[in-house]
């Protein structure tokens, strides 16, 4: 019974919470406590998914399929598979971290902040659980709005500009995505993902290959901007440095990468196959570029923005290798990176709350004063670098090892940057925490991690270790969906090569 409606419940509990927030008094920490309660509830509900996940089943689970609008044929169809299950849980977990990170950082306009924050959760959850492409598009677009408003409202100094930049970058390609969706609908008569997939695999050959090619490109472009893939990353650094921590944590990565895996690989295996060389090249360039630019940043938020470009490009590399191992690694690394990246952003936020700047050169010698914070920083950094036994390593290893078999040249280039990653991250730690005590540090009273912050960060640190050691537990779930996907793409290749051979 619960299995039918669990996804609706997960998706709309934050919305319901948002509307309660709108009527709460602005007194004390009432709104914060309530939002925390809502996010905890959501998280507990998301845990239902892995707990009742059926590993024997390859398709979608926890499905709910109702009529919504009869003409055009739009259904309220939700469901998750091995790829999205853990992403839903991840969103649930990060929302708790988001509330804790904003607890003191957001001191004015709290009602507006938490209202939009909760709407943002619904939008992101909706993207992962929608199986009707129209519904999916709805949540996809909806996810832009609270993000943009929050960046405009809470930006450090150039908030409105960053918000507009972000919105334009992501909205215009989404408009083309809508054209593509409408075109598909006019051919298939359905927005349902599963139906469309069936239709395209059976009758796809009857459609104009050129048109299909453009459609797949429109999908890819919309997702690539959101990831962001090099060279479409122009919005990321500005958004990272302006957005409040709780928003910067979730703005990049998972939505776009998930959509590429789900739609480009799922619906257009042949076209994905054809464009893979380009994407792999872009990914490898992105990995290098991100690391090199991060190396020269002084603003820590911008540094982490470019480091994010690098990590996301690495995931892209894993996706477009089309091997089971690579896809497993890619999905796993999405989870890991979101997770460690979020923890790092929270740590940066904590530092900013105490010292009021993100400039690395102003810091120095913090480790002696704030030992607990230094420890957490170092654990998170090592996880981002990809030290074995921590979570970052597993994803990186799977991606790089699988890409080596397919594209050795690019894989070597990408592997080199692992060293660069370690370089800039360790440089950051060294500058901020070690060396002589700087003027800024000396002139401020020091206070180490407090209980609330510890409540967010210690479980995160523990999970980094658990995710690093016990990875098979998660990969088992991911594998159920990914292996079929990889087969699909591989199948297309084999038929493609045979037809080419026949022609010859």
């Amino acid at each position: 019974m619960l299995n039918d409606s669990i996804l609706s419940l997960i998706t709309f509990v934050p919305t319901a919470g948002a509307f309660v927030v709108a009527f709460l008094p602005r007194r004390g920490k009432v709104i914060q406590w309530f939002t925390l309660l809502v996010t905890l509830t959501t998280f507990v509900l998301t845990l239902h998914l892995p707990a009742h996940f059926n590993y024997g089943q390859t398709g979608f689970q926890f499905e709910q399929d109702r009529a919504w609008i009869t003409s055009p044929n739009i259904r309220y169809h939700l469901g998750v598979d091995g790829i999205s299950t853990w992403l839903v849980v991840l969103v649930g977990f990060l929302s708790i971290l988001g509330v804790l990170a904003s607890w003191n950082a957001i001191s004015t306009r709290t009602k507006e902040f938490y209202f939009l924050f909760l709407i943002q959760q619904t939008a992101m959850l909706g993207v992962f659980v929608s199986l009707d492409m129209f519904l999916y598009y709805g949540f996809w677009e909806l996810s832009l709005v609270p993000m943009a408003i929050l960046i405009a409202m809470f930006g450090r100094n150039r908030g409105p500009q960053a918000a507009i930049k972000f919105f334009l970058y992501t909205f215009i390609p989404s408009a083309l995505l809508l054209v593509a969706l409408l075109w598909l609908y006019s051919k298939t008569g359905t927005f349902d993902f599963v139906e469309t997939q069936k239709f395209l695999s059976q009758y796809g050959a009857l459609l104009s290959p050129q048109a299909l090619w453009w459609v797949s490109l429109a999908f890819l472009a919309a997702f690539a901007v959101k990831v962001p893939v090099f060279p479409l990353h122009g919005w990321l650094a500005d958004v990272f440095s302006e957005a409040p921590t709780a928003m910067a944590m979730v703005v990049a990565g998972k939505l776009g990468l998930y959509s590429i895996i789900r739609f480009n690989l799922g619906l257009f295996p042949e076209q994905s196959r054809q464009i893979a060389p380009l994407m792999i090249a872009l990914a490898a360039i992105g990995v290098l570029y991100g690391a090199l630019v991060a190396l020269v940043q002084d603003d820590m938020k911008r540094l982490i923005a470019f480091s994010t470009v690098g990590h996301l490009s690495l995931i892209l590399l894993g996706i477009f290798c089309f091997t089971v191992v690579g896809l497993n690694g890619a999905v796993y690394h999405v989870i890991n990176h979101e997770f460690s990246g979020a923890a790092f952003l929270i740590l940066l936020g904590i530092l900013y709350e105490r010292y009021g700047t993100y400039e690395m050169s102003k810091y120095g010698g913090l480790a002696a004063k704030l030992p607990r914070m230094a420890t957490l920083y170092i654990i998170t950094t090592l996880s981002l670098i990809g030290l074995p036994i921590l979570n970052g390593f597993v994803g990186e290893f799977l991606i790089l090892s699988s890409s080596f078999g397919v594209h050795p040249g690019w894989a070597i280039a990408a592997t080199v940057t692992v060293i660069l990653n370690a370089g800039y991250m360790l440089l950051l730690i060294q500058k901020v925490f070690f060396g002589p005590e700087s003027h800024l540090v000396a002139s401020h009273p020091h206070s180490d991690i407090v209980a609330r912050e510890g409540f967010a960060l210690v479980p995160a640190a523990v999970l980094m270790l658990v995710l690093g050691v016990a990875s098979p537990y998660w990969i088992r779930t991911i594998d159920t969906a990914v292996s079929r996907l990889a087969q699909n793409v591989a199948h297309v290749t084999s038929t493609l090569t045979t037809t080419i051979a026949e022609k010859r």
Binding site: P160, I172, A175, V179
Partner: protein, 489 residues
């Protein structure tokens, strides 16, 4: 009841309401509030609204020698116009200075204007269409001039009046030429006559003239030049009205003329409408990008929106007509809504004009700021708001008829458009600068709240459960489309 009268019942009710208001006004004390008259107009409009809905129960048919027809299509637009007028009256009650003289006139003019627009949508006779057009235009000319004291007011009204009369002249000339070509002015009869034999050149020229006349009324490019100036000078509640209701009526007329009288000539008018749509979208959106004045920006946005609506015309299908009707409703809901906020924030005299004047509106009044943000989001076309479904149906219909390029141009335009809406949105949510301007905003009054609830609810319903309105739009479209399908054979 008399069947003939029943077919024009809403118009009759509004005429009587307007006349009573005109007669009652001189009887009031010189300095007493004129607002009760406004509330009386609200009652009259409500009555007209219900009368229109009641008309659905009448059997389809014509009255007064086949000049007026009630069908699902006319009722659809009647209800829409009555809804817009209702919201406009409430907004005016909020922002107008009730004790000023001639305020009663203002309410009466809104009622008369509505009569003209309603007549346009139910007329099936070109001359009656023209009469409706004139009634509605003349009352909007006067309302546009209601801020006589300000420099911009009379300028904008004169511009509107001169160009508007010019356009109606084109329209009338078109009717004359068509009458010359076919010997009739009844819309259905024209369609029947044109199916047999050769198409006279005269009819084609007449159709072009009509397109020009209506193109002006709906501010479609290249006949859009007057729009920004007029919107800037006219009082905000009036702009909310004239950017939606007369346009909806003119679109309804154009759809009826094109689909019923000239389905055979579609290879003549389809490319014209295609170009008008593309031009309007591009001119509107590119023009809006550079505007600092909020009302001018919204004027360009209304040009662009006329373009989206015209895009649906080219589909030549029931889906297209339904999409156009649906779009008219969604655009009305969000545009009347945003002008409700602009009217209240700026007042009748436009205290807030520039985008930067709106900085911090959400801080001063979370309600107004939130409402404005909501309507802007709908204008951008974010899902779960009416604006999204409006665009969605329009472009779905266009794509279904194979207009791939039109769809791509349209959706790229909607991407461009989000920039200027966002600029306003970002201003509303950034930290205030001109606190003195914002402090002048009065507390929201009861009528404003009613108007906001009405428009927000409409926008949300259209965005989440559009099925009901869409099926009504389809039913309306059904009354026009048989003509197209028979002509296509």
């Amino acid at each position: 009841m008399n069947m003939q009268l029943a077919r024009i019942l809403p118009e009759v009710i509004l005429t009587i309401t307007g006349v009573i208001i005109m007669l009652a006004e001189p009887l009031l004390q010189k300095n007493s509030s004129r607002k009760p008259l406004g509330w009386f107009a609200v009652l009259g409009t409500l009555a007209a609204l219900f009368a229109s809905m009641w008309q659905l129960h009448l059997p389809d048919g014509t009255a007064y020698f086949g000049t007026v027809q009630t069908d699902a299509y006319s009722v659809f637009f009647h209800v829409l116009i009555a809804g817009i007028v209702l919201a406009t009256l409430l907004v005016s009650l909020d922002s107008i200075d009730g004790s000023a003289e001639s305020v009663g006139e203002f309410f009466a003019l809104i009622c008369f204007g509505a009569v003209g627009m309603m007549l346009m949508t139910s007329a099936v006779e070109l001359l009656l269409v023209f009469i409706g057009l004139e009634i509605s235009s003349i009352s909007t000319y006067i309302m546009a001039c209601f801020r006589r004291k300000s420099a911009k007011g009379p300028e904008s009204a004169i511009k509107y009046f001169l160009l508007g009369s010019f356009a109606t002249a084109f329209f009338l000339y078109g009717i004359a030429l068509i009458f010359g070509a076919t010997g009739t002015t009844a819309i259905a009869a024209i369609g029947r006559i044109l199916t047999v034999g050769q198409t006279p050149l005269l009819a084609v020229v007449g159709l072009a003239m009509i397109l020009i006349g209506i193109g002006f009324k709906v501010s479609a490019a290249p006949f859009q030049v007057w729009t920004p100036d007029v919107y800037e000078g006219a009082p905000s509640p009036v702009v909310g009205l004239m950017s939606t209701a007369p346009k909806a009526a003119a679109f309804a007329v154009l759809l009826r003329i094109l689909y019923v009288a000239f389905p055979l000539l579609h290879y003549h008018w389809q490319p014209l409408v295609w170009w008008m749509a593309v031009l309007s979208m591009c001119v509107g959106n590119l023009g809006a990008l550079r505007q600092q004045n909020v009302k001018r920006m919204l004027a360009y946005s209304s040009i662009a929106n006329a373009g989206y609506l015209l895009a649906a015309f080219t589909a030549l299908s029931q889906e297209g007509v339904a999409a156009a009707s649906f779009y008219a409703v969604t655009y009305a809901a969000m545009n009347v809504g945003i002008f409700a906020v602009v009217s209240h924030a700026g007042g009748f005299g436009d205290r807030l004009t520039l985008v930067q004047d709106y900085r911090g509106l959400a801080y001063r009044s979370p309600l107004l700021g939130g409402a404005m943000a909501f309507f802007l989001i709908s204008l951008i076309g974010i899902p779960f708001t009416g604006g999204f479904f409006g665009k969605f149906y329009v472009f779905a219909a266009a794509l279904h008829s194979g207009m791939v390029w039109l769809t791509i141009i349209g959706l790229i335009n909607s991407g461009i458009a989000c920039y200027y809406y966002l600029r306003l949105l970002a201003a509303v949510y950034s930290k205030p600068v001109h606190t003195d301007l914002l402090d002048g905003i009065p507390r929201p009054t009861m009528p404003l709240l009613l108007a906001l609830v009405l428009t927000v609810a409409a926008t949300l319903i259209l965005g989440i459960v559009p099925g009901q309105v869409l099926s009504l739009a389809r039913a309306g479209a059904n009354t026009l489309v048989p003509y197209v399908t028979t002509a296509m054979k």
